[in-house]
């Protein structure tokens, strides 16, 4: 048991870093109601900028502190630019579009960082004065970790003073409680939002720079940190400073002990804790209930079957798609197969997100579970392709039912974050459980059998299954169940008072969506000849979101249009530029600013203009 003290101290040090990032995220959310996906990127920038500054300074303690302070100012300034250029323009957009815009920023910053600092990770040698050890209860413990441990509470204390002793802090607290009230007080909201963003960004930068002596500046920081920070913020309660602190302690210590006790499944452990907390306290440890974010009742237009012209257009497109192998070359056949897979992937997400009202940030989880189910069936049991394709939706659906059981009661941002965290767990399992999943190398040699090996034949299979299941989902949306699901989204209170079981409706939506996504994952795996952990990555989940939001949530045709447009765009982008992330990110941000209701949504509005009272 002699690992207890050292692990505890390591956990506390980790908790401090976590806190620095999470607290900024939570303050920004409290005031602006924006979940800032790019917060991890700010920490990453803090690490890189810190590296650039600290490696150029003398290696004495006072210069170290000065360098850190300079880094904080730099990231705060970047935060200001971000807020003024991007976020300010999306405050009025729906929550999801805001998230998407900030993810666009993640992509942009990734390429910018890569472009400036290069792909190699940059370690910062510990200065001598920090290399010392202290002996605590017979264990040697790095001085620097003690410094880190102290930073967390110190920052919490300072923030507490700022929030409770200054006018600015009072405004921030008031805005967190009630945004409308602050607007009514005649406070300059722009200045408040910008300054809050600067503070959050500065704290993230501080976290990044302080992490340098123990780690390094690398390009993976952004997404790994943002997941942890989401977990902390959700567990602590959105908008709560003290909650963020307690939750960072909890998660930090859990991670430190998890690595010793259950090295293979630390993330699973963290997720379980989060699940338990949310089951008992749906608003986190110290959060208060979210005021029902903008009633959807007004925003949602009536869902009606597509106009005749559109149906004819769809039929023509389908005919063209069927005839494609006779017209297109081999390369385009691959792209078309990808497009067909994407169509189902996006439609499945739309099902739970549009009519179901549950925005998933981890939809790739179901895709991946389906893919691995098929891969494992074929690899370990030698199952033929049809059986594997059947196993995929089954497996994904079963997991979705378990997951849905406790997630269906959550709403809004909490649900989105939980889906994201869940996807990260699935990813971690696929990545770490090497004996079964092959880890990073994935499962290889998953090819269609002889009769389906011809790319054209496999394309037709994919097309038939994707379009078939997508039509099935569409049919379901117009059935009593689909109406009830939509009713539960429109007004949960009303739905309950006419006797609908909102929870169960949502769980079933999750199962249907999960199963369909699972099938798309299996189809994709056979097309690529293997299953890899990247299928479950955050960017892949975001791709699904992009397709759906590109097409617009309010139309059934939306996700289909979105999937095709996205697949086409991505293909062109990846082939034409190395900076595709930058371009894609910029496109996302521009789209969100220009078309908050999605491309198909905007087209539909133009189409219907003047046709409806």
């Amino acid at each position: 048991m002699d690992f207890i003290i050292p692990q505890l101290l390591t956990g506390l040090a980790g908790a401090s870093s976590l806190f620095l990032v999470a607290v900024g995220l939570t303050i920004i959310f409290g005031v602006t109601r924006i979940v800032n996906f790019s917060h991890g990127s700010l920490m990453m920038l803090g690490a890189y900028i810190g590296w650039s500054i600290l490696t150029r300074l003398p290696r004495d303690p006072e210069w170290f502190v000065l360098g850190i302070a300079a880094t904080v100012l730099c990231t705060a300034a970047i935060g200001v630019v971000l807020e003024v250029v991007v976020l300010r323009r999306v405050y009025r957009a729906p929550e999801l579009f805001q998230l998407l815009a900030t993810f666009g920023v993640v992509l942009i910053l990734q390429d910018v960082t890569l472009w400036i600092w290069g792909p190699v990770e940059l370690p910062l040698p510990r200065p001598r004065w920090l290399r010392g050890f202290v002996t605590i209860l017979d264990s040697r413990f790095p001085v620097y970790d003690l410094v880190l441990i102290a930073v967390g509470p110190a920052v919490l204390g300072i923030l507490w003073l700022v929030m409770n002793r200054t006018r600015w802090g009072t405004l921030v607290r008031a805005a967190t409680l009630d945004r409308e009230m602050v607007a009514a007080l005649g406070v300059d909201q722009r200045l408040l939002f910008t300054s809050v963003f600067a503070l959050g960004a500065g704290l993230a930068g501080l976290g990044g720079a302080l992490s340098l002596p123990n780690a390094s500046a690398n390009l993976q920081i952004d997404l790994s940190v943002i997941t942890d920070a989401f977990v902390v913020v959700v567990v602590g309660g959105l908008g709560s400073l003290a909650g963020a602190f307690v939750a960072s302690l909890l998660i930090g210590i859990l991670q430190a002990f998890g690595i010793v006790l259950v090295p293979q499944s630390t993330l699973v452990l963290v997720f379980l804790v989060m699940a338990v907390v949310l089951v008992f306290r749906p608003n986190g440890l110290m959060g208060r209930p979210q005021a029902e974010a903008r009633e959807a009742t007004l925003a949602a237009p009536v869902v009606r079957p597509a106009p005749r012209v559109l149906r004819i257009l769809g039929a023509v497109a389908l005919l063209l798609a069927v005839a494609a192998p006779f017209l297109a070359g081999d390369y385009y056949l691959t792209v078309l197969t990808d497009g067909a897979v994407a169509l189902l992937f996006a439609t499945s997400l739309h099902f739970m997100m549009g009519p179901g009202g549950m925005a998933s940030f981890g939809h790739a989880a179901w895709f991946g579970i389906g893919a691995y189910a098929a891969g494992l069936m074929s690899q370990w049991l030698g199952a033929p392709m049809p059986l594997a394709l059947l196993a995929a939706p089954l497996a994904a659906g079963i997991v979705a039912a378990l997951f849905g059981w406790f997630v269906a009661r959550l709403s809004g941002v909490y649900l989105s974050m939980l889906t994201l965290a869940f996807a990260q767990i699935v990813w971690a399992v696929s990545f770490q459980w090497v004996e079964v999943t092959g880890g990073d190398n994935g499962l290889l040699g998953l090819w269609p059998p002889g009769w389906a090996r011809d790319p054209a034949v496999y394309y037709w299979i994919t097309l038939a299954l994707s379009v078939g299941v997508a039509m099935l989902l569409r049919r379901m949306l117009y059935s009593p169940y689909g109406y009830a699901l939509r009713a539960a989204r429109d007004s949960a209170v009303r739905a309950q008072s006419i006797g609908l079981d909102v929870q169960r409706l949502r769980i079933v939506a999750l199962v249907v969506a999960g199963a369909a996504a699972g099938l798309s994952g299996a189809l994709f795996s056979y097309a690529k000849g293997g299953v890899f952990p990247t299928y479950i990555s955050i960017p892949h989940s975001v791709e699904a979101l992009l397709m759906v939001l590109l097409g617009g949530l309010q139309t059934v045709a939306g996700p289909i249009v979105g999937a095709l447009v996205y697949t086409g765009l991505a293909d062109i982008l990846v082939r034409s530029t190395d900076l595709w992330r930058l371009v894609l990110g910029a496109v996302i941000v521009l789209l969100v600013v220009a078309f908050p209701e999605g491309v198909a949504g905007a087209a539909r509005r133009l189409w219907l203009r003047g046709r409806e009272a």
């Binding site: 009742t297 059935s479 109406y483 009830a484 009713a487 989204r489 007004s491 006419i498």
Partner: protein, 252 residues
């Protein structure tokens, strides 16, 4: 026998008592008005009967069956329909579909995944809409209705459940005075025709005196008076509350 019997309901929010020791009963076909100034605890009472809020103590019985603290869904299953002070309807559906939805739920046809819902219970939905005077609007989006029409739609939705008890929290807010009386008289006809018990709140005293069989007066969470229109009008405590705020009619 009474449809609804409420005994000793209590509810506090953060130590502040919103409703204290409220008891009453409603008979089939009876129109019972629950009145009181803003913040008296009327909506809180409705929410405890409808299941939206669990009471701190006390009991709610429907047809002699204990329903205290059940979920809104279960309570709706026992035959309670309600309208909300802030209207709650399905914004992405047409007016007709809103009522069809209620009928689908009432006939337990929700868990069907194949046949289009739009074709189900069309005639019944239109009959209900005609009853509340919304037949001309059946094809419009619920989201674009005027507030008074939304209230009517809520009534139609509530009736779709073929309720034994109707809870109506300010059913006529946002309507012109003549419309108010008309809607409540309609409700009254439905109530006596089908033997539905109706518990409603209303700020317009003309409407209250006109259509109610009996009136309960709530002030600061406590029942301070009960009786028919004449008795309430003559009650000094009630007069004080209402004359004190200067409103004997017309609502707020």
């Amino acid at each position: 026998m009474s449809v609804l019997v409420v005994r000793g309901l209590h509810k506090s929010f953060g130590g502040v008592e919103a409703v204290g020791d409220v008891s009453f009963a409603v008979a089939p076909g009876e129109m019972l008005a629950l009145i009181g100034p803003n913040g008296a605890g009327k909506s809180t009472c409705f929410n405890m009967v409808g299941g939206q809020l669990p009471p701190d103590s006390g009991s709610v019985r429907l047809d002699g069956r204990e329903i205290t603290g059940l979920s809104p869904r279960a309570i709706s299953g026992h035959g309670v329909g309600r309208t909300f002070q802030i209207t709650a309807t399905f914004g992405s559906m047409t007016v007709r579909e809103n009522v069809q939805m209620a009928l689908l739920a009432h006939h337990r046809e929700i868990w069907r995944f194949w046949r289009p819902a739009a074709a189900r219970h069309v005639a019944a939905a239109e009959a209900l809409l005609a009853q509340v005077g919304l037949e001309a609007q059946a094809g419009r989006a619920a989201g674009v209705l005027a507030y008074g029409d939304l209230k009517r739609l809520e009534l139609a939705i509530a009736l779709g459940n073929a309720p034994r008890l109707l809870l109506m929290d300010e059913p006529t807010a946002g309507m012109a005075p003549a419309e108010r009386v008309a809607l409540m008289q309609l409700t009254r006809r439905i109530a006596s025709g089908r033997g539905v018990a109706v518990l409603f709140t209303e700020h317009d005293m003309d409407v209250v005196f006109d259509v109610s069989d009996r009136i309960l007066v709530l002030n600061r969470g406590r029942l301070i008076a009960e009786g028919d229109g004449a008795a309430i009008r003559a009650n000094p405590a009630v007069r004080e509350i209402y004359l004190g705020t200067g409103a004997t009619s017309g609502g707020h």
